[in-house]
């Protein structure tokens, strides 16, 4: 009679040999399900990422176009600024020349007036000398000291006129 315990040990239990197959299938199914969930879970953000990338690239392209357009605009503006600066420099030169010409006109009027004043003073000097010659010709009619004083004053006056003319020439050439 065989030992039942030994039989139990040696003979596989029909239930225990049948159990692993469904368990594996269940495990496989769970594994597949989890993988699917993981794939779907990853696929959603990846799809969003891909969409964002596409949008970013589109936006990037737009921005690049915009930058190129702005760069062209800036180049044009820089060229215009350079032209304006050149024009401004020319305007500055013209302004100086204009001011100089205007000033020469004003100075010319003044120089004429100054020269007329000097010429008038020379006239006065000559008249005074002529009068003095008359005085000298008729010196007996005048007090001698007053003749000397008059002569001195005429000489001083005429010297001043000459000095004024010298100053004028030194100042204005």
């Amino acid at each position: 009679m065989p030992d039942t315990a030994s039989d139990a040990t040696l003979t596989p239990d029909p239930e225990s040999t049948a159990a692993p197959a469904p368990a594996r299938r269940r495990g496989l199914a769970i594994g597949l399900a989890l993988s699917l969930v993981a794939v779907v879970a990853l696929a959603v953000p990846l799809a969003l990422l891909a969409s964002a990338r596409s949008a970013w690239e589109g936006q990037n392209a737009d921005l690049r176009d915009h930058v190129e357009s702005l760069t062209d605009e800036i180049s044009d503006q820089n060229a215009r600024i350079a032209e304006l600066e050149q024009t401004e420099a020319q305007l500055e030169t013209l302004k100086k020349e204009y001011s100089s010409a205007v000033n020469q006109g004003a100075q010319g009027t003044e120089l004429v007036e100054e020269l007329e004043d000097i010429a008038d003073a020379y006239d006065t000097c000559i008249e005074a000398q002529q009068e003095h010659f008359d005085v000298l010709r008729n010196s007996e009619l005048y007090v001698e000291s007053s003749i000397d004083e008059s002569e001195r004053s005429i000489i001083d006056f005429c010297d001043e006129v000459s000095a004024a003319y010298r100053d004028f020439r030194e100042k204005h050439g």
Binding site: R53, E57, S75, N78, I81, E85, E88, S99, A106
Partner: protein, 236 residues
């Protein structure tokens, strides 16, 4: 168990592959844009002359013993400001603007306290100065527009160095001390700030580096309606 791990690894590999595909190199970002050049300061009018230059007048005056050159500037359409020492004891004052237009002087009066004078012209002048509302701060760049040595019209700019005692009148009001070259003929020139507002009047210079100017408060006091002024006596 090992098969389950393999499946998990495979799923992760697929996911990683998809993720790496999404992380493919992107287009380069926009490149740096060029920096625009800075525009230089421009004149405030189309003709190239600044406001302070357009209101500046060339003064030529005859006193009893000398000819004088100076500068004046239009306060309003009939009044011009200059220095007392430009118009005092003169028998004739001639005014010419930057375009060569001449203006006849109807009368002139001066301050007894400061080196300032007010000229009234016949007719009207098309432009006028704007008087500043605030005094300049030390270090501010100020511009003097006038007819140095009798012209031509020119502007010079330099910093306001200090408020100091007037060496020509130690008991008088303090003056603005400016580091710029003003010369004979600049007397009476407007001193303008960066906004183009008149903040002083040049009246002295060392002929090299520094110039003195009547301050804004003293100018305002002189221009006040009730200010005491003396008429220029045109007789020698």
């Amino acid at each position: 168990m090992a098969e389950r791990r393999r499946l998990g690894v495979a799923a992760l590999a697929v996911a990683a592959g998809v993720a790496l595909a999404a992380c493919a190199p992107l287009a380069p970002p926009p490149y740096a844009t060029p920096t625009p050049v800075e525009a230089t300061a421009t004149a405030s009018s189309a003709d190239g002359f600044t406001d302070s230059e357009r209101i500046a007048l060339r003064v030529w005056a005859i006193s009893c013993d000398a000819y004088r050159n100076g500068t004046a500037w239009m306060l309003d359409e009939t009044h011009a400001v200059t220095n007392r020492h430009v118009v005092r004891d003169t028998t004739l004052i001639q005014l010419t603007d930057y375009q060569g237009r001449e203006y006849r002087v109807a009368s002139a009066e001066y301050s007894t306290e400061d080196d300032l004078a007010l000229i009234t012209i016949d007719g009207t002048f098309p432009e006028a100065a704007t008087i500043g509302e605030e005094e300049p701060a030390i270090g501010d760049d100020l511009t003097v527009s006038g007819y140095a040595l009798g012209g031509p019209l020119a502007s010079v700019t330099g910093p306001y160095v200090d408020l100091r005692v007037n060496d020509l009148d130690p008991t008088g009001a303090e003056i603005y001390y400016l580091r710029l070259l003003a010369r004979e003929g600049n007397s009476g020139s407007p001193v303008t700030d960066a906004a183009g507002d008149v903040v002083g009047v040049v009246f002295s210079s060392d002929g090299e580096k520094y110039a003195g100017a009547v301050t804004l408060p003293r100018l305002e006091a002189f221009l006040a309606d009730d200010a005491e002024r003396t008429e220029v006596d045109a007789s020698c």
